[in-house]
């Protein structure tokens, strides 16, 4: 009996299509298809089922290298600096993280370092109220680095477990905004040595190949220590994490799957690779 249909070269077209449609990009698609074809030539793959299983294995292998949960116990306060392009889901993700840490019995503080966008401070204050968390803020238009400094100082003085800094969305191509972020990070470290302990990049799963250059640019400029992929409750697959995992090896901490503060799940390579196809 043959398990699944027997295969020829064209069976691999389906793999190529699935990977490209997932936003994995050409490069990793060619690498994975070639790896599977090699296995087929060596007789290790003999059916369509084998191909599917082989693909899942290859994908999981890559993603397991970036499956590394965030441990916030090493420092008090543990300072998380969030960043990312406009509309990626930073502010909402911060609320979800705060809920997670509060449920663990930790004390959490917010730093409202988006002093630019209309009603950004009001937005984080709504979340803070729902979570019964304080917000360190200054008036709209003030220096975000000054807020970061105040928030770090306050977290330290109050013995807060986790400080989460919200920042304004920014396109990685805007050098003045990238300089502003460097200053925010630097000033945080001035107030508390070693801070921020996590530089968390938030990326929207509906992005295409631009997610890769976003990640590279933010990483080169600031050193990204973790990522969150948001909006995976939609139909986009976020396949760009394959080339990012392979070339940048940045841990993917969490995945966002909705708009409420419970809609955050830890990144698991196996679950992700299953959902990819």
């Amino acid at each position: 009996a043959v398990k699944g249909r027997a295969i020829d070269e064209s069976a691999f077209d389906e793999v190529e299509e699935a990977l490209l449609l997932s936003d994995a990009g050409i490069e990793i698609t060619e690498i994975l298809v070639r790896a599977l074809k090699d296995r087929w030539k060596r007789g290790q793959i003999n059916s369509v089922d084998d191909i599917k299983r082989g693909l899942a294995e290859e994908v999981e292998k890559i993603l397991r290298t970036v499956e590394s949960p965030l441990d916030v116990t090493g420092n008090t306060p543990f300072v998380i600096l969030t960043l990312g392009v406009n509309g990626a889901g930073k502010t909402t993700t911060i609320a979800k993280l705060a809920k997670l840490y509060k449920d663990m019995g930790k004390t959490v503080l917010f730093g409202a370092c988006d002093t630019f966008r209309a009603a950004a401070i009001e937005q984080i204050e709504v979340w803070a109220k729902r979570l019964d968390i304080d917000v360190i803020k200054q008036k709209e238009g003030s220096d975000p680095a000054a807020v970061a400094y105040d928030a770090t100082r306050a977290a330290h003085a109050r013995g807060i477990d986790v400080l989460i800094l919200d920042t304004a969305g920014r396109l990685h191509t805007k050098s003045n905004l990238m300089e502003e972020m460097k200053k925010i990070k630097r000033v945080t470290g001035k107030e508390l040595q070693g801070a921020p302990h996590e530089t968390l990049l938030v990326v929207d799963a509906t992005n295409g190949q631009n997610a890769i250059v976003q990640t590279k640019t933010f990483n080169d400029a600031l050193g990204v220590t973790g990522m969150v992929i948001t909006k995976l409750d939609g139909t986009a697959k976020g396949g760009f994490i394959l080339p990012i995992a392979r070339s940048l090896k940045i841990p993917i901490r969490f995945v966002g799957v909705g708009e409420q503060f419970d809609d955050l799940i830890p990144f698991r390579a196996q679950e992700f690779s299953k959902a990819l196809f």
């Binding site: 509309g87 990626a88 509906t206 190949q209 139909t235």
Partner: protein, 292 residues
């Protein structure tokens, strides 16, 4: 650069040669790579390349132009054709108040675009009213209210309402009472697969009967652009697209995908966070950007 890569694939043809199915095979592959790298949808790219192939075969290569140049020209022209050669302006004709409704996925730039549209319409001599109908997102109403005050535009006070439909009813009455002729209705971001939220939009649209239903889409959107655009268009019958965040370095292939799959015109592009950053869509510029 694509043109250079194409020149390499055409090394074999010179001067009076013709483009044949055989000698353009490698060139088609190079264009396919460029399109996929630019986030053009896989299936859309496939169909597009078929049309390029038909157009290209038999093409005369003159001594004044290299085969690579001829081929790029064919691809570029086909892209411009697909993207819509003529800019379709915003239609706000009809007895006032006329409505423009902004819809789309979470975070695509609707609220900011509403502010930008208000400035655009004011310059055209209209008297817009910004209508916040996002009752879900924390401080969404405050956000549009602040935007309105930044640009000196009236914003309907939606605070305290919990029903977008009621907001539209009251806003329309307010506009009529105050001589405002164009309602710019900002809606909550939603997934195209959220049936309940899409139904809310259908109901809202039925009441408003907007002259323009604009799908606001992030230019960084990847392969999923076809699903998003197709669903919003099928459920709501979209009149036009606004492509935002084109001030970044995304190639914007989503523009091709959504145009191919819905046929609807891209009316504007967003090129910044400030409220004076809305521009009319230029197909030729987009075509060059996509080709890299």
């Amino acid at each position: 650069k694509l043109q250079e890569r194409l020149e390499a694939t055409f090394k074999k043809i010179r001067g009076h040669g013709k483009l044949t199915e055989d000698n353009i095979k490698d060139s088609l592959r190079e264009v396919r790579i460029a399109l996929l790298e630019a986030d053009v949808n896989y299936k859309v790219a496939k169909d597009f390349l078929e049309r390029v192939k038909e157009k290209a075969i038999g093409g005369e290569v003159l001594t004044s132009i290299t085969p690579g140049q001829l081929f790029v020209r064919i691809v570029y022209d086909e892209l411009c054709e697909l993207l819509g050669k003529v800019n379709k302006p915003l239609d706000v004709s009809g007895s006032p108040p006329v409505s423009v409704m902004l819809v789309g996925l979470q975070g695509s730039g609707k609220t900011t675009t509403a502010g930008k549209l208000a400035i655009f319409l004011k310059k055209k001599g209209r008297r817009p009213l910004l209508v916040p109908s996002d009752v879900y997102r924390p401080a969404a109403i405050e956000q549009l209210t602040k935007i309105g005050s930044q640009i000196n535009m009236p914003v309907f006070s939606s605070k305290g309402f919990d029903d977008p439909l009621k907001i539209c009813v009251e806003a329309k009455a307010y506009a009529m009472k105050n001589g405002l002729d164009t309602l710019i209705v900002d809606t909550a971001g939603r997934l195209h697969i959220d049936e309940e939220m899409i139904q809310e939009l259908i109901d809202q649209k039925r009441y408003l009967n907007p002259k323009e239903t604009l799908l606001v889409l992030d230019a960084m959107t990847g392969q999923d652009a076809v699903n998003i655009a197709k669903t919003f268009d099928e459920k709501l019958n979209v009149d036009g697209i606004v492509l935002t965040k084109l001030d970044g370095d995304t190639r914007g292939g989503a523009a091709i995908s959504i145009k191919a799959v819905t046929g609807k015109p891209i009316k504007f592009i967003g090129v910044g966070e400030k409220l004076d950053t809305l521009e009319p869509f230029h197909p030729e510029r987009m075509a060059s950007r996509i080709l890299g």
